[in-house]
């Protein structure tokens, strides 16, 4: 009984993560987008908490805490800060319209379920959903990067991909070894900082963070 409830809650969190991702795809402005990312991270943290509680794996607590601190609070702040510094427009910069992207996201979801289907034989229901959801968040995050021109939006897409990945890690195998997780967090952190620096440079060079201006190098 308790297991079922926990399973349901995990499922719920995962689905909420997907929902926030899809919503993020539908956003046209930066502010709600960043909020949605916070929300997604929050759901991830909650999910990690539940998994940690149910499985008794202690290092997932650490991961939960890191997610909460870094992804729910610090990174959104950083993104805000970057946006303030470089004073970008509030638009996400669409290169494919919202309906189109949403349809594509739906396709990605279907694909994810289809692709992960052979893996499901050995798994519990919860894990099944989480794996498929994880892959779809990964793909939708990538899709978002493909269809958004704004440098900051791209960063958010990358972060969402990462969240999806952690969802998979936590749900499938109760987290990766601690060192991997910390490493991954660290990596993401630094990546965002560096991306920020370069976004700043791009803004300085082009007076915009619209990456569609970056088309000098081609052949």
């Amino acid at each position: 009984m308790e297991n079922a409830i926990i399973g349901n809650m995990i499922d719920l969190c995962a689905v909420m993560m997907l929902l926030t991702t899809v919503l993020a795809v539908a956003m046209t402005h930066m502010k709600p987008l960043i909020r949605l990312f916070s929300a997604q991270s929050l759901f991830l943290a909650v999910l990690a908490l539940i998994v940690a509680y149910s499985s008794g794996t202690s290092h997932i607590y650490i991961m939960c805490g890191l997610t909460l601190v870094l992804k729910v609070f610090v990174m959104p702040r950083m993104l805000w800060y970057i946006m303030d510094r470089i004073n970008v427009g509030r638009e996400v910069g669409l290169s494919l319209g919202i309906p189109g992207t949403l349809l594509a996201s739906g396709l990605m979801m279907v694909l994810s379920y289809y692709i992960t289907e052979p893996l499901l034989a050995t798994m519990h229901t919860v894990e099944r959903n989480c794996l498929a959801l994880s892959v779809s968040i990964l793909l939708i995050g990538l899709l978002m990067m493909c269809t958004r021109k704004n440098a900051i939006t791209e960063t958010i897409g990358l972060l969402m991909m990462e969240n999806g990945l952690f969802l998979g890690a936590v749900a499938l195998s109760h987290g990766m070894p601690l060192i991997v997780e910390i490493a991954a967090f660290f990596d993401v952190m630094v990546a965002v900082i560096i991306i920020g620096i370069f976004a700043h440079r791009i803004n300085r060079s082009f007076n915009s963070v619209d990456t569609s201006f970056l088309r000098r190098l081609r052949e």
Binding site: L111, I115, E117, L139, L142, M145, C146, T211, S212, L214
Partner: protein
């Protein structure tokens, strides 16, 4: 035991004497502005000339070098045929190097060290006994000739050469690698009769690869397009080395791999005939093209193509005859290999003659020469020997090998009837080729040395450097000697051929005619001498006057031009040459573009470029599209995994 030690010591010292000096010479290029390198290289050439005697003296001329590569050892194994090739190639090499060091271009340090490198690589390639040595040496030959082709210009001819020979090199690499894999041994001497193990299809594929791979260097259609440009664009000595020594290397290694390694255990008639037709077409093409060229070096380039095609024709006929008659096979192979050697001697002579002529006149087209026989009789005399050899006139050496070729073609009633039909065609082809090139050489010689000078440079040629005539005389003497004393040479080579190809019959078995080149030569020389002597006995008056000019006075522009000379043949063969008239402003001239360039190479190049441009479009510069490539690849790969 003592004997063995002595033998190996002799071999070691011989090889050291052969390869160490040029190795030092490569490094010492700039010392004393190249003189040191030239000396070292010449020394080793002389050592190389002694290869045949050394082979005679030393049983089992093999040696593995102490250094190995990632792909295996370096080892040499010299058999009789190889030693003959090495000796004669060294002679040619020596003469070219001596001429190079005496030529008007002065000492060029880079050329000196590179000719050292070329000597080493050519000789190693001929002697090589391991796969890696053959391949490395062969490609180094290409590279070095490529570097030696630098005349300070744009160098388009060089890279075309390099690319085409690299294509050939890749084919060779494939062929050799395959044989290596099948045999399981890196030593070529273990490969004897490998064809049996490879199976018929693989053998044929390997043989085709070998013929075409080496053919790129020998100018087989359609890989000949680099030849005229390379020969006319490079320093003459480079062209001379390329067309003589390097061709010898190609022919020898081709022969050894095809007939010794692959062997002819399978029925090789069909590929043999195909290669034979290809070679015949090449020969005809080269002959026809050489007719209408104006630069002497281009004439010689196409003539090299023709001669080498005759050689490959002989080798491919060797495949055709392998089933039917061993004697005939020995004969035709001997004809081909002898022709390669002869060619190297007379072609190097002609190249050096051309260099001397260009040097003293400062001109580069036969339309700007003329009358040099008057001002430089000695040069014109040696040139005549070379031209006569090229034109296969008895008693020069070129005649002997063509005679052998025709002999082998006439003895073909041993073949199955459907193949016999080919033979009259080949006889006719050899005949037509022979006459066309004879015309071409008559034109080359006539317009270079005879008549009146057609340009200021030709009317007042600069003095030649002292000593630069010596190598020419030596080569001319070799032409005559190899013509007169062809029989002993043939006997020795034949022993080598039969040994290498595993044939049990000598060439004499298939020889249906009686001819002694020595007696024939002496008869001709004797008769002419008697006539000359007789005319000396009864003296008579001689007056010198102007050429009859129909009552007017002639100037040099009233002579027949070289274009006019070839015009009748061009008209007779007009379907072959196509439209040769070119109009520049209000002047008409004749010109010729290589149809192979126009219809094969240029479209192929364009195709690659069009493809490239299409493919290049994926690099849009837009990061969103780049990301979507990743997305699509990922999705496709995952789906593929799911579906398969």
């Amino acid at each position: 035991m003592v004997m063995v030690v002595e033998t190996s010591a002799l071999l070691t010292s011989y090889l050291v004497a052969m390869f160490l000096p040029p190795a030092l010479g490569m490094i010492a290029g700039r010392l004393s502005s190249g003189r040191v390198s030239y000396l070292l290289c010449s020394f080793s050439c002389i050592v190389g000339m002694m290869c045949y005697p050394v082979w005679n003296a030393v049983p089992g001329f093999t040696m593995t070098f102490p250094l190995g590569s990632a792909l295996g050892d370096y080892a040499v194994d010299v058999d009789m045929l190889t030693s003959i090739f090495v000796s004669i190639s060294s002679l040619v090499f020596l003469m070219i190097v001596v001429h190079m060091s005496h030529s008007g271009h002065g000492y060029r340090p880079a050329m000196a060290s590179m000719s050292c490198a070329l000597f080493v690589s050519c000789m190693l390639c001929m002697m090589a006994d391991t796969v890696v040595l053959v391949l490395v040496a062969w490609e180094v030959v290409s590279l070095v000739t490529f570097l030696m082709g630098d005349d300070g210009g744009e160098g388009g001819h060089r890279w075309r050469f390099l690319v085409i020979t690299h294509v050939g090199g890749m084919m060779l690499i494939c062929a050799f690698t395959y044989m290596w894999l099948v045999s399981g041994s890196q030593y070529l001497h273990d490969w004897t009769g490998l064809g049996e193990r490879m199976g018929a299809t693989a053998s044929i594929a390997v043989i085709l690869c070998l013929f075409i791979g080496f053919g790129t260097k020998l100018g087989t259609l359609p890989f000949h397009v680099w030849m005229p440009d390379m020969y006319s664009g490079s320093p003459t000595h480079t062209s001379a080395l390329l067309t003589t020594v390097c061709s010898n290397v190609a022919v020898l290694v081709l022969f050894k791999t095809v007939f010794s390694c692959v062997g002819t255990t399978h029925d090789m008639v069909v590929p043999g005939v195909a290669l034979c037709i290809l070679s015949a077409a090449t020969a005809l093409w080269g002959a026809m093209e050489s007719m209408i060229q104006r630069e002497p070096r281009r004439i010689l380039a196409y003539s090299s193509m023709e001669n080498m095609a005759l050689v490959t024709m002989c080798l491919s006929l060797g495949l055709v005859f392998s089933d039917a008659s061993e004697g005939l096979m020995a004969l035709v192979l001997l004809a081909g290999l002898l022709h390669a050697l002869n060619h190297s001697v007379f072609k190097s002579l002609m190249m050096l003659v051309v260099d001397s002529v260009e040097d003293v006149t400062g001109e580069g087209s036969i339309d700007r020469y003329g009358g040099i026989a008057c001002s430089m009789p000695a040069l014109s005399a040696v040139a005549l020997v070379g031209i006569a050899s090229l034109a296969a006139v008895p008693p020069m050496n070129g005649f002997v090998s063509e005679w052998l070729m025709l002999q082998s073609l006439l003895g073909t009633d041993v073949l199955a009837s459907d193949m016999r039909v080919l033979m009259p065609l080949l006889v006719a082809m050899v005949g037509v080729c022979g006459m066309v090139v004879a015309t071409s050489y008559a034109r080359l010689y006539g317009f270079t040395f005879l008549g009146r000078p057609r340009s200021p440079g030709a009317s007042e040629p600069r003095a030649q450097r002292r000593g630069s005539l010596v190598p020419l005389v030596v080569l001319a003497a070799s032409c005559v000697c190899m013509g007169l004393f062809a029989t002993p040479l043939m006997d020795r080579m034949s022993a080598g051929v039969t040994e290498a190809a595993g044939i049990h019959q000598g060439y004499t078995a298939a020889l249906s005619g009686t001819m002694d080149p020595l007696v024939l030569g002496l008869m001709i020389a004797g008769t002419v001498a008697v006539l000359v002597a007789a005319s000396k006995v009864v003296s008579y008056g001689k007056a010198v006057d102007d050429t009859w000019g129909c009552g007017g006075t002639l100037d040099e522009r009233m002579q027949y031009s070289s274009e006019g000379f070839s015009q009748p043949i061009v008209r007779v063969f007009h379907p072959f040459y196509g439209d040769t008239s070119r109009r520049e402003g209000d002047r008409y001239s004749t010109g010729f573009t290589e149809p192979f360039v126009k219809y094969i190479y240029a479209p192929a190049g364009r195709l690659v470029m069009v493809l490239s441009e299409r493919i290049t479009r994926i690099q849009t510069g837009n990061i969103q599209s780049y990301l979507s490539y990743i997305l699509v690849t990922l999705v496709v790969a995952l789906l593929a995994v799911r579906l398969l």
